[in-house]
Symmetry: C2
Subunit: 373 residues, 2 copies
């Protein structure tokens, strides 16, 4: 007698056969047949809702679902940009998480997603037969927030080896986007696989990667309210609480030469704001589809005038990365050209065919970290 | 312009005021007001479903929800057993995960849950100001399964200290129940907090705790089919793949004197089956609400007759723990008495007032580990 056993009721009526040209999305839970994807980058969904009158999928737009007589609803997307796409069902106005799908930290909660796979060019973010580092869950006290917080910290495989027991490593602080949290990079960002594969190939230095929730100051408001202040509330937590914790709990090298910061979207704004306000702390910066820019008329005064002396800036920052996907529209568009026009060294990387989603950011991480330390 | 920002539509009609005598469940997502709990151990739920005709909560039975004119549905549970309770909504026949709640690995997927808190007696599983170990996500190749798997591995705080760089630790292999996976013990089981607090108090030895999915052989069938064979398919993965990986990747002591195995429910059956079949591998055993027993007429023959010689058994196994909650009915009821009647030393622990749920198993872990190693 197993009290926990929950067997989902499956109706006896004949169901649509599985489309033979599709395969199960890698985001589906074990044993499940949906969501599915095909070679044309279309996503296939299914949901049992026998009494519902109107059902659609919310996945970069509304995709109506069609009902079969047996109570199952089906939908197929248009051909999508390759990569990772959050979605949910809306059943007569109710948000429904696909019970067949794993969930990911995003959309201000736990959301299903489908992944349109790449071919061998995606091997860099897949688990390979190389030495594997570990992503560790770390609890730390935030004096600023007056609460316990959780960091996710990647350490490289060699960190565990007895011969390296006294070796110290440089640190990348890596931020998620709005509506996400510290669980996003390790899971859909595939940080462990990307770092393992690059390190094993000798393409980047072994380093520690520290991922934290940038959602601070939550007692002062709700998401979307006071965008700038909300973003800024992460700064004291990072500087006063997180960096000292990392340099105490891990074998971390200290000093600005050994610290990088990068972030995506809203986390890209946090990265620019924090790194430019604290050039004493970081010497490498990555802006991944960043939700920020620097206005031309404020160029010489922004961040205490840090851009005004290009030669000094270029000496101080060893690598300044700006990335955008070709299918997205973000406020950091044009930032690279503006920096260049002012003599500020930076590297712009365009992610071909990808939208404001995680494949874009996996690519940026892969392009960014080989230039660090 | 933040493409990822998803703001949930909140209707303008006046909503029911928050009941003042309740508080938000610790399982709710940040910013959310529901689910809630009160001092009478009742759970309060809310869901927006303006067009739905029939909505209930599935939480140890069906609890009908009532609709307000503004489209919000509400329900309050009966007084529940203290602890952790999975639930989902059923909206006109559709399973709906509460969008206000975090999700946990269970119910064959990702399920919401509410937690009815204990008072100070629950401090042992809460985050305290003590040295914190880490739960690490580890990827390993399973030769038996021919696929990559994920282990969650707790290492104690002192594991990181330079002075312990050559110190090795004993290992507890800890299994989840049916419908759950390797993410269950670290999250709702609160393994990190429980171990940290016990180690800091000097109540148990520093040890490594290894948590894996016991769901193996999944290519051979679906959940619920061939219960015994499905449970048994974990044995070769544990013995051939996991134990060697742990003893290679971690500073783990080897040999049966330094290994314990415990599991809950279906994982308790796996624990009894594996440990009794391999007395060369383990010397400590924990059965937490185990879904198993040993029939009287098979007592002398089960597991190659290991129980037939009580004196030899008692010499070999240093601690044999059996736990049950007072509010649950499991097949291992009576096993302790039967073992005792046959002269087999064992410790029975009854969890007062708890059901087949995670508070029961947190308590068992707390009672079990002080007797190890």
């Amino acid at each position: 007698m197993i009290a926990l056993a929950v067997v989902l009721a499956v109706p006896a009526l004949a169901q649509r056969p599985i489309p033979g040209w599709t395969k199960v999305s890698e985001t589906a839970l074990p044993f499940r047949q949906y969501p599915r994807v095909d070679a044309a980058n279309q996503i296939y969904w299914r949901l049992y809702a026998p009494k519902a009158e109107n059902v659609y999928v919310d996945c970069r737009g509304q995709i109506p679902m069609q009902k079969d007589p047996d109570g199952w609803w089906y939908a197929t997307s248009r051909p999508m940009a390759v990569g990772f796409h959050f979605y949910h069902f809306v059943v007569d106005g109710v948000t429904v998480t696909d019970p067949d799908c794993d969930v990911f930290d995003g959309r201000y909660g736990r959301s299903a997603a489908a992944e349109i796979p790449e071919g061998p060019e995606g091997d860099y973010y897949r688990t390979q037969n190389v030495p594997h580092g570990m992503v560790r869950e770390v609890r730390y006290w935030s004096e600023y927030e007056q609460q316990w917080r959780r960091a996710m910290v990647y350490t490289p495989a060699e960190y565990e080896l007895a011969k390296n027991a006294r070796k110290k490593y440089p640190v990348l602080y890596l931020q998620h986007g709005m509506s996400e949290d510290e669980g996003s990079w390790p899971k859909q960002g595939r940080v462990g696989n990307i770092m393992d594969n690059l390190i094993a190939a000798g393409e980047c230095k072994p380093m520690i990667v520290v991922m934290n929730s940038g959602n601070c100051g939550i007692r002062s408001g709700t998401p979307g309210v006071d965008f700038n202040a909300w973003a800024a509330s992460f700064e004291p937590v990072l500087i006063q609480d997180i960096i000292p914790m990392v340099e105490k709990e891990f074998r971390a090298l200290t000093g600005r030469e050994n610290r990088a910061m990068a972030g995506l979207s809203w986390g890209g704004k946090q990265t620019l704001d924090i790194a430019m306000s604290h050039p004493d702390l970081f010497s490498y910066v990555g802006l991944f589809s960043a939700a920020t820019n620097v206005r031309e008329d404020q160029f010489d005064t922004a961040y205490n005038g840090i851009f005004a002396d290009a030669a000094a800036f270029n000496k101080k920052f060893h690598y300044f990365f700006i990335g955008l996907g070709t299918e997205e529209r973000m406020s950091s568009a044009g930032l690279s050209e503006r920096l260049t026009a002012h003599g500020i060294n930076n590297t712009f990387y365009s992610s071909e065919g990808t939208d404001h989603e995680w494949l874009t950011w996996r690519r940026f991480l892969k392009e960014f970290v080989p230039h660090l330390f």
